[in-house]
C-alpha cells in the first residue's frame, strides 16, 4: 500500500471553556481520514458537525489536543510557524466566503503575488505566474490591476483558487468553497476544481454540507456527525446507499426536483429521524437536534 498524502489519525480538537469554570468543548473526537495523491475526499456533515474544524486543524488553525496529522509522511499536528511556511508550498486553502477571503485593500495582483513573494519568487517570474494563474482559473489578464470589490462572488472565488494554486500545492483544503455561490456559478466553479485536479494532480479535502456537491466532486466521502466520522467510503456508494442513519437522513434532505418523490422522501426522512432518536436514547446520547 502506498503512503497516503494526508493521514489523520484519531484526531481530537478541544476548545478550552470560555470564562471561569466553563467546561471545555470537544469539537473533534477520534477522527481518522486518509487522502491519497490526486484524490478528492468529500467531507460532508451539517453545520456544527466539526467538518470545518477538521479542515482548520489540518491548516494549523485549530488546537490539536490528541491524535496526529501526517502530511507526506511528516507529523504536522503541532507544526510551528516556520514549518507552516514551508508547508504552505504544498498545503493551501480556499474558504467559503469570497467576500472576506480576499484582502479588500489589495489588487488581485498583490493578492496573488503575496504567496509567491513569501516563497521567494523573483518579481518577473511572479508576474508571469500570475498571468498563468489567472488564465488557469478563467479570469482575464487585466483582472490583475483591479480590486476584489470589482468582481462577482464566483470571480472572487476563482481568485481565491488561483491564490491557492499559486505555489502548485499537493493538497488544497476547500472549506465550503461553493456554498456562497448561486447554482449555475457553483457548477462552473466545481468544474474548474475538477479540471485543475485533472491537470495538476492536486488532492482536495472538500468540505461541504451539500451532498449533491460532494457527490459531484469526490472520489471518496467521509460523513461527519457531532465531531465523529460516522461513515466513510467510495463516493458513489456512500451517496447512494448510505449505511449510517444520519447519512441516510442527509441524503433525503438533499433537494429533489419532483413533488411526489419529495413528499415520499419527507415521510421517509421523518421516519429515519425517529429511528435515529431512539438509537441515540439507547446509546445514552442527547436527543438529536434537527
Amino acid at each position: 500500500m502506498t503512503q497516503p498524502l494526508l493521514g489523520v489519525e484519531r484526531l481530537g480538537v478541544t476548545y478550552p471553556g470560555r470564562g471561569f469554570r466553563r467546561p471545555a468543548s470537544a469539537v473533534l473526537k477520534e477522527v481518522s481520514i486518509e487522502i491519497a495523491h490526486g484524490e478528492t475526499l468529500g467531507l460532508v456533515g451539517e453545520s456544527g458537525s466539526g467538518k470545518t474544524t477538521l479542515g482548520r486543524a489540518i491548516l494549523g488553525l485549530a488546537p490539536v489536543t490528541s491524535g496526529r496529522i501526517i502530511f507526506d509522511g511528516e507529523d504536522i499536528s503541532h507544526a510551528g510557524r516556520s514549518e507552516r511556511r514551508r508547508l504552505a508550498k504544498d498545503l493551501q486553502v480556499v474558504f467559503q466566503d469570497p467576500y472576506t477571503s480576499l484582502n479588500p485593500a489589495m489588487t488581485i495582483e498583490s493578492i496573488l503575488a503575496e504567496p509567491l513573494q513569501a516563497a521567494g519568487a523573483p518579481t518577473q517570474e511572479a508576474r508571469a505566474r500570475i498571468r498563468e494563474l489567472l488564465d488557469q482559473v478563467g479570469l482575464p489578464a487585466d483582472a490583475a490591476r483591479r480590486l476584489p470589490r470589482e468582481f462577482s462572488g464566483g470571480q472572487r472565488q476563482r481568485v481565491a483558487i488561483a491564490r491557492a494554486l499559486a505555489l502548485s500545492p499537493r493538497l488544497i483544503v476547500c472549506d465550503e468553497p461553493v456554498s456562497a455561490l448561486d447554482l449555475s456559478t457553483q457548477a462552473r466553479v466545481l468544474d474548474l476544481f475538477i479540471e485543475i485536479q485533472e491537470r495538476t494532480g492536486v488532492a482536495y479535502l472538500f468540505v461541504s454540507h451539500d451532498l449533491a456537491v460532494i457527490r459531484h466532486i469526490s472520489h471518496r466521502v467521509a460523513v461527519m456527525y457531532r465531531g465523529e466520522i460516522v461513515e466513510q467510503g467510495d463516493a458513489e456508494l456512500v451517496t447512494s446507499e448510505p449505511e449510517h442513519p444520519y447519512t441516510q437522513r442527509l441524503l433525503l434532505a438533499a433537494p429533489v426536483a419532483h413533488p411526489v418523490r419529495q413528499e415520499k422522501r419527507r415521510a421517509e426522512r421523518f421516519r429515519l429521524r425517529e429511528l435515529h432518536r431512539e438509537q441515540n436514547l439507547q446509546s445514552g446520547a442527547l436527543p438529536a437536534r434537527v
Partner: protein
Amino acid sequence: MPMTNKRRLSVLAAAAVAVLALSACTGQDGSSGGGDDQGPRTLKLGVSSELLSYDPVDLNGGGEGNLLWMPVYDRLLTITPDNGLEPGLATEWAFDDSFSVLTLELRDGVTFSDGAPFTAETVKANIENLKASSSTEAGIVAPIEEVVPVDENTVEFHLASYDPTLLYQLGLAAGVMASPEALGTEEIKLNPVGSGPYTLDDQGSVRGSELIYVKNDEHWNSDAYPYETLVFKTYQDITARLNAAKSGEVDGAPITSAAAAEAEAAGLTITNTPAGWLGLGLFDRAGQIAPELADVRVRQAINYAFDKQAILENVEQGYGYATSQTFAEGQPGYDPELDNRYEYDPEKARELLAEAGYPDGFDLTIPDLPHMAAYTPIIADQLKDVGINVTIKPVAPTDTLAEMFGGQNAAFAMEFGGTSIGQITALSTQSVWNIFKSTDEELSQLVSVAYKATEEDEQDKTYREVNRWVVDNAWFAPWYMKDSIFVTSSEVTVEPWVTNVTPLISSFAPAK
C-alpha cells in the same frame, strides 16, 4: 504592493517613536519651573485681562489696566499708593483763588519714544485730542474749556466749572501724555508713543498673552524703577493665574478671595487692601418707582436687615471689613464710628418699617445683574426676613448696563471702588451713579464745601460731613469694604495701592 505598505508603516512608526523619545528626554532635564531666564532684574506679573489699545483715548482710570499702561506713559501728575499726588510731567500745580484756572509748570527735557520733545503745546494737543474723542475719559476733561500754553514749560487750564477730582484724574488716564505726532493714528493703538519709564518691546510681545517692557534709562525718574524688564502675562482663568504664581512663572498676580487660602498654603505673600464697597444701592430716594424708598426709615430698615459680617465671611472669605459707610478706612472722610452705624438688627428693621407705615412689609423688585448674581439671592433672603418681599427680575447679560443706569430699578447690588472724592462726586446729579438724580439742599451745601478743600485736614473734615449725611440718610446700604488681593513670591516686595485692584508698578521692588 506589500513592500511599499511596509515602508509607509515604518515611516509612521519611526515618526511616532521620535516624538515619544524627544518628549522623554526633554521631560527629564525640564526641572526648572521657570523664572530666572530673563535675569534677576525682571519682574513678571500675571494679570487677568489684556490691554486692548495703547491709544491714550482708549485708556481708563480703574482696575488692572493701570498696571499695563502706566509703565509706558507718564502722566501730568503721579499718584502715590495712598492716593496722594506727586510731581509727574508737571512739577508744580496750583488753582487760582476762584478755582477757574489751573496752572501747571512742566518738566524740562522730557522726550517721547519717537524723539519728540514734551512741551506746553504737547499738553494742549493731548487734552484737546481727548476732549474731542468719544472716550470715557473725555467727560473728565470736558470742564477744561481751553488749554493755554503760556510758555514752553507753563500751561494753563481754563475751567468752565470746578471739578475736585480733576487733579487726581490728571494722575490717571486723563493725564496721559503721548507724542503729538502719534495722536489719532491707528498705529498708537498697537504701539504706545509715550515718555514713560519703560518702552514696549513690540517684537518680543505677543498681544493678548505676554507684554514685555524694557526700561527707558533716559526717564527723569529712572531710579524709582528697579527692574530692567517687565513681563505681563495674561491669565483670564483664576486657576491658571494662581498656578502661574505657585509655580513661580510669575512673581505676582491679582487673585480672588476664594483662591487666597490656597495661595497662602503655597507660601505666597498676600497683600490685601480695601478696593471698594459692596452692598445694595438704594437709588430711588424720592420714591418715583418704589414709593416706600422715599421714607428714610425704610432705607434705614434695609440697612439694618443685612448681616454684613456673615456675608463677608461666606462670600469673600472674610477679606474685607463690614461697614455702613462708603468711605474706605485710611482715606480722607473715613469715620470709624460709621462702620457700626447700622449693625445687623432685624428686629430694629421691622420696627422701623412699622413706624414708616409698613408693619407687614412691602414688595420690592431687584434685577438679577449677571455680574452680581452671587449676591441677588442673599438680598432676597435677608430682606424677606424683615418682611420685604423681593421679586427677582432676570437680566440678560447684554441688558446689564440698561438695567443698571436706565432708571428701571429702584435698587440693585453694586460694587463701587475709588477714592473718597470719587464717592462724593458719585452723589452729584451729573453722575451716572445718581440714577434718579436725587438731590438734597443740605447735602449740596456740604458737597460744595468739600469740593473746595485742598488741604489734607480740611478735606478729612469736610468729607466726613458728607459721609455722615449720606450714611444717616441711608442713600446706600453698604455691607462691607471688599479687599483686593494680590499675591507675590518671596522674590518681590510690594505696597498696595489703596482703593485699587492692583498695586502701582512703581511699588514693586526686589526682596532684599
